[in-house]
């Protein structure tokens, strides 16, 4: 153990990059596992919601299904359509997955448990999540297929529309927390009231808007017109097969997990215990490490993604755009001003 510690310190002094790489692997490897088993959870949960069992053949209760899927996709032929722009066609999936992974660089998993503790954390996150739209639009353009093109246009317009509502919701969080540092934002939600101190309560409209915009950003049902199966087949990734498709798929699910984790960080108190400061329950749950709470919250929000998909029929495109522009943006602007007033007058309980 001592030897390992001294080796670690030696790495920090002499080969910083190697030390950083080890840390990144510690973040990315469990993340990829979560992504794989999120797809399994999706199929199982939607299966049970539709009164069937879901995947149950590969391994005990179907537990090896995601691995089998990955292996299958690995050995599939990669088809690049004859009219496609080859380079752009292959860059697009990388542009979807890359930002979804890189965003975790500033994500605090616990008090001080963060790879890079920068003060512009939230700004970095917004910048990276905005890059995702390039993957969609480049893939639609490069495929040289009508379905892909239409899907990319729709999806790009939808993503940028909801990005505005999302950005305004984030500004609301900033006003409430007074910092761009994600760790500081979580610490601003700490208090005697436990879960009633978190931002979901004073920022309730923004909380809902942030989550719904997140669903729309990731092109998930009921906002999945970009790949509405019955009209434009699979939308922007209709021409993709094999590993490039798998990368798109991983990117989509990694983005969903990222949005869930961010929702729990910004509105649901991150690593804080929901019973913090409560008379009886507070001390009872003191021993639970913060990262477990974060995981539970993320899984809770992630479950909503799947629940929405199993419950709601697809929105019509004009309804999607109306919701984004005419409902969400006015509400967020009004609520930013309300929260601003609360902060200026130091409203007790949250902002004093």
């Amino acid at each position: 153990m001592d030897l390992l510690m001294s080796l670690w310190e030696w790495l920090g002094e002499n080969l910083v990059v190697v030390q950083i790489l080890i840390k990144i692997v510690i973040i990315v490897a469990p993340l990829m596992l979560c992504v794989a088993y999120f797809t399994y959870a999706e199929r199982k949960i939607i299966g049970y919601m539709q009164v069937r069992i879901g995947p149950n053949r590969v391994g005990p209760k179907g537990w090896l299904q995601p691995i089998a899927d990955a292996v299958k996709l690995m050995f599939k032929e990669i088809i690049i359509p004859s009219g496609a722009n080859k380079t752009l066609f292959l860059i697009a999936p990388v542009l979807t997955l890359g930002p979804a992974l890189a965003a975790w660089a500033v994500f605090p998993f616990g008090d001080g448990l963060v790879l890079s503790n920068i003060n512009a954390g939230l700004l970095y996150l917004i910048a990276l999540t905005s890059v995702g739209v390039y993957g969609v639009i480049i893939s639609g353009w490069a495929s040289n297929s009508k379905y892909a093109f239409l899907g990319a246009m729709r999806s790009a317009a939808q993503i940028v529309s909801y990005e505005i509502a999302m950005g305004f919701a984030l500004v609301g969080v900033l006003v409430a927390a007074g910092s761009l540092n994600l760790g500081e934002i979580v610490r601003a939600q700490e208090g005697e009231g436990g879960l009633f101190n978190w931002f979901w309560l004073p920022l309730f409209p923004l909380f809902l808007i942030y989550f719904v915009s997140g669903v729309a950003e990731t092109n998930r049902a009921p906002f999945d017109v970009a790949e509405g199966e019955s009209e434009i087949v699979a939308g922007f990734h209709v021409e993709y097969s094999g590993m490039p498709f798998a990368v798109f798929f991983l990117g989509e699910y990694a983005n969903m997990i990222l949005i869930s984790a961010l929702t729990s960080l910004l509105f649901l108190g991150g690593w804080l215990s929901p019973f913090n400061g409560w008379p009886l329950l507070g001390p009872m749950f003191d021993w639970v490490p913060g990262i477990v709470w974060l995981f539970i919250k993320t899984a809770f929000v992630g479950f909503f993604f799947l629940w929405l998909r199993a419950t709601f029929p697809r929105y019509r495109y004009d309804q999607i755009m109306r919701l984004g522009w005419k409902v969400f943006i006015p509400i967020t602007i009004v609520w930013i001003m309300v929260v601003g007033l609360a902060v200026v007058f130091e409203m007790p309980w949250w902002f004093d």
Binding site: I20, A157, G178, A246, K326, I333, G340
Partner: protein, 118 residues
């Protein structure tokens, strides 16, 4: 100060590398037996009969332009939001004025029908 950004740079590189490695792996392991039918763009069994990079609705441009304006507003709001508890009522009112002008523009484009999709 800046050394905090080194892990981010490395992480972005790793994020890109994961995608690149996976696709390369697919090229190495996957079969490759292309033929002209397989490589033609998918159109539900039809032969593609015109260029797929066709004209599209001007409203997509409009959405993109409006997006830029509103995204800039958000960028303006960021520094204000961080220091609001220090600048107090004066800061709040000046941002209210700014947002008021933005809202007038928003109402104008709404009334002009820029947000309609039928």
């Amino acid at each position: 100060m800046l050394e905090n950004y080194l892990p981010i740079l490395v992480f972005v590189a790793v994020g890109i590398a994961v995608g690149v490695v996976m696709i390369t792996l697919g090229f190495v392991l996957g079969t490759r037996r292309p033929n002209s039918e397989k490589l033609s763009p998918y159109e539900c069994g039809f032969e593609a009969f015109e260029d797929s990079r066709m004209k599209f609705d001007v409203r997509f441009y409009l959405v993109a332009i409006l997006f830029i304006i509103f995204d800039l507003e958000i960028a303006f709001l960021f520094p204000w939001a961080v220091v609001l508890d220090k600048i107090g009522m004066v800061g709040y009112l000046s941002m209210a004025l700014f947002l008021g002008i933005l809202v007038i523009g928003f109402i104008y484009e709404w009334k002009k029908g820029a947000l309609e999709w039928e």
